[in-house]
């Protein structure tokens, strides 16, 4: 009898499982990428798919992705989004190549009754259903707080050189604001000189070189982004301050983003703390918003959109931090 019960039970269980999968409501999502030329875009696509599967199951949706790439051409992107509308997707999510041009596509989607989410880069030409991006203010805030803790443990008062980004970029403005607010609030570090870099690596190098010369008392550096880390490294090497933590000539270093150029220096202990520009968190948040919109619920975004926070990473945590795209994607 036993030999009949087990196969029958297995068949019944399989039947239940199939029925559950069939119960999942299909959710067709069109993702329009402006370019796919770096590991960040590849990571976004992978994380969106895996999160879609994970969160979708819980919410009762079976995500079906249609992804197209505009190759840095706004006209191509508009045509790609038209294709998505024609295919009858349920939701469109797009990383705009041109914030000023994406409004036309937002309007077209709305006219077709399709919700439109801008991703990472917002729109200046039309209001989407929702915006999902990174939280640059929170990034610098958490970096500053973690850095203050590190300095406190080492009994060091930080006299920092701040390498600012382009001051017409809202991310750069947010980061300088948050970094200095935390410095004042904790009293653990102060910014003794601010160096504008315009996000130009040549200015990271010459600016930091000049600042190290002008302020020999500086013992820490905050970089608003670490994409140009080789230039920071070159300036510190020139000044004889390129040494990992624990060595007497170590320059305490805090950065935002933890982009691929900064992974090795952090693993080597040269960067003390960073907060990620988090492809994983952003994808997770995007899927949450897509599901909320599909359920006709309020995604509960803030005034600047649904902003995903980064994660604080240190040399001690970088190896085990899950879903860290800058480390995992080459």
């Amino acid at each position: 009898m036993k030999r009949y019960i087990i196969p029958v039970a297995a068949i019944c269980l399989a039947g239940v499982a199939t029925a559950k999968a069939d119960d999942l409501k299909p959710l067709k999502v069109g993702f329009s990428l402006d370019t796919k030329e770096s590991s960040l875009e590849t990571a976004w696509v992978d994380y969106l798919k895996s999160e879609g599967e994970r969160q979708g199951k819980v919410a009762g949706f079976n995500f079906e992705w249609t992804i197209n790439v505009a190759n840095a051409d706004p006209t191509r992107q508009a045509a790609n989004i038209d294709d998505l509308i024609t295919r009858g997707v349920d939701v469109i999510i797009a990383r705009a190549f041109d914030s000023g041009a994406i409004g036309t596509s937002i309007k077209a989607a709305k006219e077709a009754g399709i919700p439109f989410i801008t991703f990472d880069r917002g729109s200046t030409s039309g209001k989407p259903t929702a915006h999902v991006g990174g939280d640059s203010y929170d990034q610098a805030k958490t970096t500053g707080e973690a850095f203050a803790e590190i300095l406190k443990k080492a009994s060091v008062h930080g006299k920092c050189i701040e390498l600012q980004g382009m001051l017409t970029d809202i991310n750069a403005v947010n980061r300088t604001k948050a970094w200095n607010e935390v410095g004042k609030a904790t009293g653990q570090y102060e910014t003794i000189v601010q160096v504008p870099t315009n996000w130009n690596p040549e200015l990271f190098l010459s600016g930091l070189t000049n600042a190290l010369n002008a302020k020999p008392e500086a013992n820490c550096v905050f970089a608003a982004s670490d994409f140009a880390f080789p230039s920071i490294q070159a300036a510190l090497e020139k000044a004889g301050r390129w040494a990992p933590t624990g060595q007497p000539n170590h320059m305490w270093l805090a950065t935002c983003d933890l982009l691929p150029a900064a992974v090795k220096p952090m693993e080597g202990g040269y960067i003390d703390v960073s907060t990620t520009w988090d492809a994983y968190s952003q994808a997770k948040e995007a899927v949450r918003v897509i599901i909320a919109i599909a359920k006709h619920e309020d995604p509960k975004c803030g005034p600047d959109g649904c902003l995903a926070k980064g994660r604080v990473v240190t040399p001690a945590t970088i190896k085990d931090m899950p879903n860290l795209w800058s480390r995992d994607y080459k």
């Binding site: 600012q164 001051l167 601010q194 690596p201 040549e202 190098l205 140009a228 080789p230 070159a234 090497e237």
Partner: protein
């Protein structure tokens, strides 16, 4: 001549030098570390790529033309070299020569468009500026191309206390200066800049000289890019971004006439490039507001240019008796 008039004449004749001296003295007095040997060497070291690029651009400007593609030329040439070194193990020395060769080739394309196709140099190099940058961004995927560590160390190499890029810059500028002042090619450049019609009438090789000036401009832009790349340890998508305008400002502030036929490479470009880097360095030493950098830079360019314009055109500006 009254003392007042003499002083006014002196100011007009030496407008740029006066502005230069005032800024230098101000930063020296106002900050603790500006007037130190290390810092002055820092300024020279930081200005090298700009000075080398501007020296090539100056040759084109002296013929009465413009080349605003120098930044993109540097970017594309260095991208090709860095990718070949990183991905295909190309010998770094060969890589550097290849970069300069690429720069010359890109300059030759500019020269062909301007000289053979007779397209205005501003329009021609504006289009190649966009095209070259687009090609470089496509090649690098708009990502940082890091150089292998042994090459990166060259960026901090020194001859005694002097960063090695300073003697390299001086050698390049002296060679370009000698080319401009001591060779028939240099004299032809000045003749074309003074009056192209006359130059053509007396049988000077106007087209060949114009073409070669673009080739040299491209090669020197790439050479400047090589220094930038080695110092930074990587080619970034920003390499050479806006360089064309800074280099042009250096050329003009250094006394090279935009109309052509006037100027000096060594005695114009070095102080011209120095003043730009000195402003950035001095403002950092002062701990100035980050927003003030562009304002002060712009004001200094205006002051130097205005003094230069007064010097050049003062007699014409006076009411005729």
């Amino acid at each position: 001549m009254s003392i007042r008039k003499r002083a006014a004449d002196f100011l007009l004749q030496r407008g740029f030098a006066v502005v230069f001296a005032i800024i230098f003295i101000f930063f020296s007095v106002a900050t603790a570390h500006f007037f130190q040997a290390d810092n002055i060497l820092n300024i020279f070291s930081a200005m090298d790529p700009l000075a080398i690029t501007a020296s090539g651009l100056a040759l084109v400007v002296m013929t009465g033309r413009l080349d605003i593609s120098v930044g993109s030329t540097a970017f594309l040439s260095c991208s090709i070299g860095a990718l070949l070194i990183r991905d295909h193990g190309l010998n770094p020395v060969l890589g550097m020569l290849l970069v300069v060769g690429c720069g010359a080739l890109l300059g030759a394309i500019n020269g062909f468009i301007v000289v053979v196709l007779r397209v205005n140099s501003l329009i021609a190099t504006l289009s190649t500026m966009i095209a070259y940058r687009g090609m470089a961004l496509a090649l690098t995927d708009a990502l940082l191309v890091e150089l292998p560590a042994p090459i990166r160390f060259l960026g901090n190499a020194k001859l005694g206390p002097v960063p090695i890029n300073i003697p390299i810059m001086l050698i390049v500028l002296i060679l370009v200066h000698l080319l401009q002042t001591k060779t028939s090619f240099g004299r032809q450049i000045m003749a074309i800049g003074n009056d192209v019609t006359v130059a053509r009438k007396i049988g000077l090789p106007v087209d060949r000289t114009g073409f070669l000036s673009f080739v040299l401009s491209g090669a020197l832009a790439a050479a400047g890019g090589v220094l930038t790349t080695i110092e930074n340890g990587a080619v970034s998508p920003f390499l050479g971004d806006g360089l064309e305008f800074t280099a042009l400002a250096v050329v003009v502030v250094g006394g090279v006439s935009l109309l052509g036929g006037r100027g000096s490479i060594f005695f114009g470009i070095i102080p011209g490039a120095f003043i730009f880097e000195m402003i950035r360095n001095g403002l950092t030493n002062l701990g100035a507001d980050p927003y003030s950098y562009r304002l002060v830079g712009g004001a200094v360019i205006f002051a130097a240019m205005y003094a230069d314009a007064l010097k050049s055109g003062r007699y014409a500006l006076r009411p005729q008796s």
